[in-house]
């Protein structure tokens, strides 16, 4: 099975072959490196840009305006903070211009902790991004969704931000990408550039098939009646592990929603589940003050107050200036498996 980062690469390959992608670019995105996480190795439209995030976002906008279909990479979302007003501009161009223009651009960027990245390679971005009206924001937690969300991001005629959970980039899924060859080694030998001299290397792309995950559609990865867990990205598989363990221990079953789209989010999925279970836990790793999960909590309280059996919870990252390098910092800053499990246990067992 493909890893998440291989799935992104395959999606971009499908995009440039079948969906009109004209430019995949950013710092170190083109040859020889093909991206610091290898997301863009071997792509025919990949090129290296100056080390200039504002230039990257601006160029993507210009390319999109002129009829191209760009996928721009910000190497780490932590480097994207100096582009925030450009992201705002990109989100408002159609609205401000009374529909004069469409802006079909994709920005992808690794987000979140999990690679011992210290202060500037560990930040999360979805809460900031959720305030950028006019954008659509997605975050996959497995390779197949990464493929399907990327294809949708490319096809959508609006700015779409694809947040890639960097802790999961090397994680393999349990479902094949449509067209993926059998065997991990076979895929690797065909699309992963060799270490060292890559001068004569050419990828041998498999015959890929389309697969679209609609924007704004959550995935119900576990089904149950006892609680609702809403998560995405790195913390999603942790929630699954926690819920499976508690199911073994207590017999209680949870709905687990992989939100996949931060905006638009799948309110029907959340709403149906909350009405069914009356118990809610939202988990993400962005910092906890003005966290995107707080918005979901607000809607849950506004619209499901009388459906709730116990107080709803949000488990998020601590409101500290950064994630420190020593693992003591990271483990005690963003949600980890034991904390998720115990919080979910309390949601499941609190007396109504």
């Amino acid at each position: 099975m493909a890893t998440l980062v291989q799935a992104v690469r395959l999606a971009l390959r499908y995009g440039e072959e079948h969906l009109g992608v004209t430019d995949v670019f950013g710092e170190d995105v083109g040859p020889p490196l093909g991206g610091v996480f290898t997301a863009t190795q071997g792509l025919k439209t990949a090129w290296n840009s100056p080390l200039d995030e504002r230039g990257i976002i601006g160029a993507a906008m210009g390319i999109a305006y002129a009829g191209g279909r760009p996928v721009a990479e910000i190497q780490f979302c932590d480097y994207g903070f100096n582009t925030i007003d450009l992201l705002k501009v990109a989100g408002n161009q159609r609205w401000a211009g009374a529909g004069n223009y469409e802006l079909p651009m994709v920005v992808m960027t690794p987000s979140g902790s999990g690679i011992r990245g210290s202060l500037y390679h560990s930040h999360s971005f979805e809460s900031w991004a959720s305030r950028l009206a006019g954008w659509k924001i997605v975050m996959p937690s497995n390779p197949l969704d990464a493929y399907g969300l990327m294809l949708s991001a490319i096809v959508d005629p609006n700015p779409v931000l694809v947040l890639l959970p960097k802790a999961l980039l090397r994680v393999r899924g349990d479902k094949k990408i449509p067209g993926e060859p059998d065997g991990e080694d076979e895929l690797k030998s065909r699309i992963d550039a060799p270490v060292g001299d890559r001068g004569n290397w050419q990828p041998r792309w498999p015959e890929l098939k389309p697969y679209f995950v609609p924007l704004g559609s959550a995935s119900l990865v576990r089904e149950g009646v006892d609680a609702t867990v809403v998560s995405y990205g790195r913390t999603l598989p942790l929630c699954v592990q926690a819920a499976d363990k508690l199911a073994e221990e207590t017999g209680k079953q949870c709905d687990i929603l992989d939100l996949r789209s931060i905006f638009p989010y799948d309110w029907k999925a959340i709403s149906d589940s909350v009405r069914k279970t009356g118990r809610v836990l939202i988990v993400n790793e962005d910092t906890e003050v003005t966290n995107f999960g707080e918005h979901l909590l607000r809607r849950i309280i506004d619209e499901h107050f009388y459906d709730l059996l116990v107080r709803p919870r949000l488990l998020a990252g601590k409101h500290v200036p950064g994630i420190g390098l020593n693992q003591v910092y990271e483990q005690n800053t963003v949600p980890q498996l034991p904390g998720i499990r115990e919080t979910l246990r309390s949601v499941l067992t609190e007396e109504a």
């Binding site: 200039d52 230039g55 210009g62 305006y65 609006n158 704004g216 119900l220 309110w267």
Partner: protein, 369 residues
């Protein structure tokens, strides 16, 4: 230097070639009269919008009185159209004369000032001078004074790849050139072997709101900053129509032909201060490009003062008629607030057409794995 060239003798016979001279450069009389009419129409439109800002028919005013000479010459030489075969315009908010030169009805400027639903540039959402016109490749103008500089390389990349002679034009002021995006533009336009056909225009009025350029900028000319990147350029008196016309022509010709960038700095006036926030009062000590041009036209004998007066009277009448018409046009409604947030999408389960408020219950779909 005015040219002594009375066109017609007493018998109505042409005596000399009808042209206006500035230094060694000349411009045909017919072109000069066309430029003059556009400058006047733009000025009258802008002065009327200043009045609207003070009379309750609009709010904030900002614009380009004092830049008409240069901006008209720019607009008239644009290869106007839609798509990469034509020029892309990444403008700032002092380019009204450029839009009038492109052919924008003055009523459309008035509509933006009056915030009507019929405002084709922003549907009453944006300040005056914040134009957007897809048919002419005019990208939406933002109040943020630097962001257009990083978008310009993108349109130019597509144009260079596409072929043809379409270029990208980006304009900004002297104060905005202090932003990092201006430097980004120089870097991205001059990547070795990947140079881009971008005409980078700085209209230098010497001010950033209340701060003088001379108190903040050590460089003698902003244009000199291009030299470090091998970007050709020049400084021109942006109040001189003939000089501006030819400077724009040289810059455009170079970009079209060489597919490389050109940095053009035009020294211009700012006749009504920064905006209505600083009162929008007429400034006494700045050169007025229309007055300068009219003096030159009169000196060259191309027109008499009655003809010039007529141009003003016609512009007055045109603008007044436009105001009267626009003030009877519909305003946006509450139903318009969300309109045009998103383009229709085949892959969006929540917003297949446009934004409709927070994700609702009835529209979304749930997909099991």
């Amino acid at each position: 230097m005015p040219t002594e060239n009375k066109i017609f003798g007493s018998e109505g016979v042409a005596l000399l070639a009808p042209e206006v001279r500035s230094g060694r450069e000349t411009l045909p009389a017919e072109r000069c009269l066309e430029i003059h009419r556009i400058m006047v129409r733009s000025r009258v439109m802008e002065e009327r919008t200043i009045k609207m800002s003070k009379s309750g028919q609009g709010y904030f005013w900002i614009g380009g009185p004092g830049e008409e000479a240069f901006n008209t010459c720019l607009g008239l030489q644009v290869k106007k159209g839609r798509g990469p075969s034509y020029d892309y315009l990444h403008l700032h908010y002092r380019n009204s004369a450029t839009l009038v030169a492109l052919g924008m009805p003055v009523a459309d400027g008035i509509r933006q000032m009056a915030m009507t639903a019929t405002d084709p540039h922003s549907m009453g959402r944006n300040f005056i001078g914040h134009f957007a016109c897809r048919d002419w490749n005019v990208l939406p103008v933002t109040s943020v004074i630097e962001v257009q500089h990083v978008m310009a390389p993108g349109t130019a990349m597509v144009q260079k790849r596409f072929g043809g002679d379409g270029i990208t034009i980006v304009t900004g002021g002297d104060a905005g050139s202090a932003e990092g995006d201006f430097a980004s533009c120089l870097v991205w336009c001059s990547r070795p072997g990947k140079e881009l056909p971008v005409l980078i225009v700085v209209t230098n009025n010497g001010w950033g709101i209340s701060t003088s350029a001379s108190s903040q900028h050590g460089e003698r000319n902003i244009c000199d900053r291009g030299k470090a990147f091998g970007i050709r350029g020049e400084v021109v008196d942006g109040n001189d129509v003939v000089a501006s016309w030819h400077a724009v022509r040289r810059g455009m010709d170079y970009c079209r032909r060489e597919r490389r960038p050109y940095l053009l700095e035009a020294k211009v006036s700012r006749l009504y201060g920064h905006s209505s926030s600083s009162g929008a009062q007429r400034v006494a000590h700045e050169d007025d490009p229309i007055e300068l041009f009219e003096r030159k036209l009169l000196d060259t004998g191309l027109v008499d003062s009655l003809t010039l007066d007529q141009a003003h009277e016609e512009a007055d009448a045109e603008v007044e008629a436009a105001v009267e018409q626009v003030l009877n046009e519909p305003m946006p409604t509450a139903a318009d607030v969300e309109r045009y947030t998103y383009a229709p999408s085949t892959v969006d389960a929540v917003y297949p057409e446009d934004y409709t408020g927070l994700p609702g219950y009835e529209l979304s779909v749930l997909r099991k794995p």
